[in-house]
């Protein structure tokens, strides 16, 4: 079942074309990762999907009644606002104690309900955001560089948590990341973005694609767990769309 269909969207900020002719389809239960260098429009694309930005051209179709659980890149809780984790989970609608406790447990932060949001560590904070996102029993979890600011073991644990959540809830996961080696291995599909879709496919296909290599260079090659099967070249299907800039 198709959850989201993005058809030929374009987004401009002033004179800068951030997204250009981007197409994307997301189906139930799959994990899709969007990778791309800084300024490639990853976060913008995600914000279009969430509905925070209207594209200047093209269409975004959401399945009827689609529930999105959104985990933002970072959320700054202003010092002027006192708010406990428990109360934060109540936004925008109040939830029962049991549901809140279950969500916190599923996100791996069972004991922080009474803590002030501003007193959480970086890892705890992201898990609380995850707990809030799964409270609405979403059809798709969207994560925007959700592990920024976490150390490597921290972000690896966080992705394991995501995977556990997906297994129990059966939701699709769409995430934006620059941590290729951690993220890609868990993905069903990878989309390499740089304003437009440079290439996409299974992690193996993308990591072998010339467009992808050109973007990320050989410097990361050693760190890429997936950059391993040279014969993947034969399977490629999107190489006619070569990086143009």
């Amino acid at each position: 079942m198709t959850l989201l269909t993005v058809t030929d969207i374009g987004v401009r900020f002033g004179n800068h074309q951030v997204l250009d002719h981007v197409n994307l389809i997301l189906t139930r239960g799959e994990i899709v990762t969007i990778v791309g260098p800084n300024g490639s429009g990853k976060s913008t694309l995600l914000r279009v999907l969430v509905g925070a930005i209207e594209p200047d051209s093209g269409r975004v179709e959401r399945a009827e009644g689609l529930r999105i659980g959104y985990v933002p890149q970072k959320l700054h809780v202003d010092q002027t606002m006192p708010i406990t984790v428990r109360r934060f989970l109540d936004l925008p609608k109040r939830v029962g104690k049991e549901a809140a406790d279950t969500a916190l447990q599923a996100a791996g932060v069972a004991h922080v309900a009474a803590t002030q949001m501003s007193d959480l560590s970086g890892g705890q904070f992201q898990r609380v955001l995850l707990a809030r996102a799964i409270l609405s029993e979403p059809d798709v979890l969207m994560l925007d560089e959700a592990t920024q600011g976490l150390d490597q073991p921290g972000s690896a644990q966080f992705y394991q948590q995501i995977d556990a959540v997906r297994k129990t809830m059966g939701c699709a996961v769409l995430m934006v990341s620059h941590e290729l080696h951690v993220v890609m291995s868990a993905s069903d599909r990878v989309i390499c973005l740089n304003g437009h879709v440079c290439c996409e496919g299974t992690p193996e296909v993308v990591s072998a694609a010339p467009a992808y290599r050109e973007l990320f260079g050989s410097g990361t090659g050693g760190a890429l767990a997936l950059y391993r099967h040279d014969h993947d070249h034969r399977h490629d299907h999107s190489h006619d769309h070569v990086f143009e800039e």
Binding site: R47, G51, Y70, L75, T80, P82, R87, L91, M142
Partner: protein
């Protein structure tokens, strides 16, 4: 001791304090202090227009305050920084209002009344308008609390939850215009922001959730309002400034005591 006009004054100040106390939390959370200031200054222009067209002061003020809010929203992101833009709008509106008041033929307007308030002359109709406005503001805040709070915390989260954060921002602008309109008679255009900011900032020290902060803010504001009216009558001082001074005093005490407990612990 409590003559009729005193009861009216106390009630008027109480109504404004409750509405401003609750809305003031959003002004503090969203860092809109200067925006509140600009809206309040624009009220003087509203007064001038009301006198020119012989309409109710409330109507003139709310229209101009609203226009100010919308103007600010539409000018945002056009090159000028938000603080500078608000400076232009606030002082432009205040100056234009002062000029306009002086141009009204045949009327000698006592500007002090609108700059610093004149709560002791509040009549029954004024009182009804003030409480009507205050109850309306509180009711809207209560009904939209979750949506307003989510939009304040993170527009992106609000979007993802199917809310429209821009609309919620607009609602807050509307409420701010309403509070300015009902407060001008009580504390005057120059001190309205104080009614919004000071109780909410003091309340922050006692609160663990947004709701408790709003309740604390309303209580502290109400205490300052009622106490300020009494104190002003006893000491024969201007009422609006006395309310604000009392409120500032509470802030000082709260800051000092929490500072001392921190050192002590």
């Amino acid at each position: 001791m409590l003559d009729d006009f005193l009861i009216r004054a106390g009630l008027a100040a109480l109504g404004v304090a409750l509405a401003a106390g609750a809305l003031g939390c959003f002004v503090v959370w969203r860092r809109l202090a200067y925006f509140g200031e600009a809206t309040a200054h624009a009220a003087v222009l509203g007064v001038a227009l009301s006198l020119m067209f012989s309409t109710s002061i409330f109507v003139g003020v709310i229209v101009v305050a609203l226009a100010m809010g919308l103007l600010f929203f539409s000018l945002q992101g056009t090159g000028a920084g938000a603080d500078a833009l608000l400076g232009v709008l606030a002082h432009g509106a205040l100056a234009l209002g002062l000029v306009a008041v002086s141009l009204i033929p045949g009327v000698r307007v006592d500007l002090d009344v609108y700059l610093f308030g004149d709560v002791l002359t509040v009549g029954r109709v004024d009182l009804a308008v003030i409480w009507g406005g205050a109850v309306l503001v509180l009711a809207i805040l209560y009904l939209r609390w979750g949506a307003l709070l989510t939009s304040t915390l993170s527009p992106d989260l609000a979007n993802a939850s199917g809310l429209a954060p821009r609309r919620e921002g607009l609602i807050l602008t509307l409420l701010l215009a309403a509070v300015v309109a009902v407060a001008i008679k009580v504390v005057g255009a120059l001190l309205i922001t104080a009614m919004l900011i000071i109780p909410a900032t003091t309340a922050r020290r006692f609160a663990v959730t947004p709701e408790s902060m709003a309740l604390w803010s309303m209580s502290l504001g109400a205490l300052a309002a009622v106490g300020g009216v009494q104190l002003a009558v006893m000491a024969n001082t201007p009422v609006g400034p006395t309310i604000v001074a009392l409120s500032a005093g509470m802030f000082a005490v709260a800051t000092l005591t929490s500072g001392l407990t921190r050192i002590g612990s």
